[in-house]
Amino acid sequence: MGDWMTVTDSGLSSENKNISQYTSETKMSPSSLYSQQVLCSSIPLSKNVHSFFSAFCTEENIEQSIAYLDQELTTFGFPSLYEESKGKETKRELNIVAVLNCMNELLVLQRKNLLAQENVETQNLKLGSDMDHLQNCYAKLKEQLENSRREMIGLQERDRQLQCKNRNLHQLLKNEKDEVQKLQNIIASRATQYNHDMKRKEREYNKLKERLHQLVMNKKDKKIAMEVLNYVGRADGKRGSWRTGKTEARNEDEMYKILLNDYEYRQKQILMENAELKKVLQQMKKEMISLLSPQKQKPRERADDSTGTVISDVEEDAGELSRESMWDLSCETVREQLTNSIRKQWRILKSHVEKLDNQVSKVHLEGFSDEDMISRQDHEQETEKLELEIQHCKEMIKTQQQLLQQLATACDDDTTSLLRDCYLLEEKERLKEEWSLFKEQKKNFEKERRSFTEAAIRLGLERKAFEEERASWLKQQFLNMTTFDHQNSENVKLFSAFSGSSDRDNPTAHSRPRQKKPHSVSDGSPVCTSKLARSLPASPSTSDFCQTRSCVSEHSGSVSALNVTPEESRPSQAGRECADQKWSVASRPGSQEGCRSGCSLTYTNSHVEKDDLP
């Protein structure tokens, strides 16, 4: 029934409007008035209320208001206001007693409600104050909680720091302990060393005491002497000198001389080293300049100031060089200039190299090749090629190693046959060599034969000439000489001439084979393994000799002075004349006999003599 809303006092002034707002039952406008009234019961009735009261019931609507009131009361449980009606149609009379009772009841009810309301209000107030109090408490507690949390965090932080410190201190303690241990060890070792030394000294001291005691006790004293058989001379052979002040001074002088020499030598070394290093530095500087300057001329280079510095540096260096060549000393300024210029150059070089590096990396990224930089692909191709080559070489090496191993390992049938082949190879080689020797010598023989034939022909011609001369000479003699016997003179002359000729024959025959000999011997000397080779040099000469002997024997009848032959012969070896005598001695017995036997004899002799001849 209506809204028991708390209506504020301000609402009273505009109660009509409010009522119209708050009412739910538009029909029952009086009920809202009624509720209003109930709620504001504590408020003393004002005039408005009076007017308000009068608004409900007027003289016109008494019956209606009574009916309405009755209806309301009965719904509330009050007894009806009407008297009990006897019939339906009769008008009900107002039961005044009931009305008064109802009024009383309502008043009582009103009082109760007021009391209840008061209680409720007080309770409300109490609750409100309780709530406030609780809220305050809550806020305070929250604050406290916050504070305590903060404190806890702070304490945790401190705890952590302290733990850190603790750990550090532990570490320090450990270190200190280690050091202490180390020092203790050192002390221990030193102590043992000291003890050892002490003991040693004590032992020596004891020995000394004993010895002293012995010496004091001992009466006879062993003489300290030296006995020498004779004096030995000084090592340098000089006499000893007296010790005087002069010698002392001399010793000092010598000592200082030695020291000075040593210092001078060292200084020289250092100077040389310095000069070399300076030279190296100069060279380095020049090279650096030359390295940098042609590159700087390229248009790609952006640093123009660097070129300027290079040029200026070159000028500077030219000046420096002239200066340095004048003073070859290590002057402070010269040294500084040199080092400064080198440093400058080095810096320029470094920057240049860095620039190049950057460019290379840029090129790397961009991927196009420049003139003076090898393109990546080319570079890679080259490396690939080189790698392939390396592979090939490695494989070759491997195969070769395998082959070597095979050779070195134990032999089986194949290898023994191989070896045998090797031996045969040796024989074959030797045979080949000998064959080549033979062929050579054959050639030589041919040559010699040819020359000898030529010589023989010449000889023949000479003989002829000689004989003609002889014949003419004999004729003369014959004509001149009349007392002598023809035969005897001829024979004697023959003999002498012949022996003379044989004598003279020999040098030619000798000199020719002599001259031939060096050739043949030189040919034969490299490979002289067989007897055949050794005897070969002898044979051409002997064959020559045989030939000449045969020539001589052919011309045995004729006596010809071989004056011509010495001229003809090749540069003769004058020194061989004593040997010639030997030859002549050997050949003389053979000259009278036949050629062949003579040849054989001479052959053997020559063979024998050959060995003697150098």
């Binding site: 070792s189 300290i224 010793n251 030695i258 040593d262």
Partner: protein
């Protein structure tokens, strides 16, 4: 490789003459001199007692035989076998004896290193040098006789440097060998001078401290301090020192297994060689001795940077093959709690042409390193082995042949 017959020898006393013509060896109390080519006995001398030390004079004319127990030194002449000389130190005793470079003076160190007596064979005169230092023996000389590192002659034999200790301080005296005059006497800034050595050019003297302190001092001939060098503190220091033949470098080997090379201009370290247990550098060639018999142990040889190792070899058949890098070298960790531990670089040898430096680190059984004069081969002598390494200097590749040597 051919070996001659075995000759008897006592106390490892066997020396070639400086001119290379003779070989002197000792058997008990006899001194036998043989011809170096034919090994025929040329001379035979008899000393009074067992010989402890022999030394040829520099001109190969005399041999000195030291009999420490009797305190005697006997000198024999090769030219005149009947010439003899006997030096008796008497009650002073004898600890060491050596020739002077001119071959006419003998320096005897008396017992307890009380003094050094200089006997002259020319004048029969005596000079005394007091308070010499008893320096430790060199590592390389352990197999051979003990020698005193407190005495150092220059290569040309003009000067003698002697380490002394007086009033708990170390001094160095320089004498002129011609008349034994004292030239310079200066103190060294060392705790305990361990050794001195002249540079081959005779102008610089290197002195180093004992192993408790790493210090190398370089003095000029006139006694001025040129430079000092110290690589690190506190740990055990220098073990061995060697000059390069051109006097340009000084190699210092220390107990930490490293060799540091100083240059002669600034006397600062120019390079440092380590001896790592594993070789990783592919540029180094490692030669591994491969045996045909069951392997008992494998020896390694590495060159570039050179390091010499001789490993155990049981069978005579062996060949060297190139091992693949990385190679790990077998090392035995020696006892570190003893005095003079067998760690560190104990032996250094420069090749005569200044190209190579051979070093021995740690406990490897190499007793001596010796370069050939041509500088292209290196002989390593171990306790049981003898190894000859040949280097082709152009390629820097070496081939090695190992041989089993006889014990003597």
């Amino acid at each position: 490789m051919n070996f001659s017959e075995v000759f008897k020898l006592s106390s490892l006393l066997c020396k070639f003459s400086p001119d290379g013509k003779y070989l002197a060896s000792c058997v008990q109390y006899r001194l036998v001199v043989r011809d170096a080519n034919t090994l025929q006995v040329v001379q035979l001398y008899t000393c009074l007692d067992q010989i402890q030390h022999i030394e040829w004079s520099a001109d190969s004319l005399f041999i000195l035989c030291a009999l420490y127990k009797r305190g005697l030194v006997q000198v024999w002449s090769l030219e005149q076998p009947e010439w003899h000389c006997k030096i008796d130190e008497g009650s002073a005793g004898l600890v060491a004896s050596c020739w002077s470079p001119d071959g006419r003076h003998i320096l005897n160190t008396t017992e307890f290193h009380l003094r050094i007596t200089v006997w002259s064979l020319c004048t029969k005169s005596v000079s005394y040098i007091k308070y010499p230092k008893a320096c430790q023996q060199g590592e390389l000389a352990k197999a051979a006789q003990k020698f005193l590192k407190s005495l150092a002659f220059t290569r040309d034999g003009r000067y003698l440097a002697l380490a002394e200790r007086r009033d708990c301080r170390d001094y160095v005296s320089i004498f002129v060998c011609s008349d034994w005059q004292l030239l310079r006497h200066f103190d060294t800034d060392t705790q305990d001078l361990a050794g001195i050595e002249w540079a081959p050019n005779g102008c610089v003297l290197a002195a180093w401290d004992s192993c408790l302190e790493y210090k190398v001092l370089l003095y000029s001939l006139d006694g001025r301090l040129l430079s000092t060098y110290c690589a690190y503190e506190w740990s055990l220091g220098i073990k061995s020192v060697a000059w390069s033949p051109s006097s340009q470098f000084l190699a210092v080997g220390s107990y930490d297994g490293k060799v540091r090379v100083l240059n002669h201009v600034t006397w600062k370290m120019i390079t440092e060689f380590g001896h790592p247990a594993t070789i990783n550098n592919p540029k180094i060639v490692v030669y591994k001795e491969a045996e045909k018999s069951p392997p008992l142990g494998l020896g390694h040889l590495a060159f570039l940077p050179p390091r010499a190792v001789a490993g155990p070899l049981s069978s005579p058949e062996s060949k060297y093959e190139i091992a693949e890098v990385p190679v790990s070298l077998q090392t035995l960790k020696p006892a570190a709690d003893r005095a003079n531990p067998r760690i560190g670089v104990g032996a250094l040898a420069f090749s005569p042409d200044n190209y190579f430096l051979a070093t021995r680190n740690g406990d490897f059984q190499v007793l001596s390193l010796c370069w050939h004069l041509s500088g292209d081969s290196l002989a390593l002598l171990g306790k049981d082995h003898f190894c000859l390494c040949f280097l082709e200097t152009e390629e820097g590749v070496g081939t090695a042949s190992g041989q089993r040597g006889d014990h003597t």
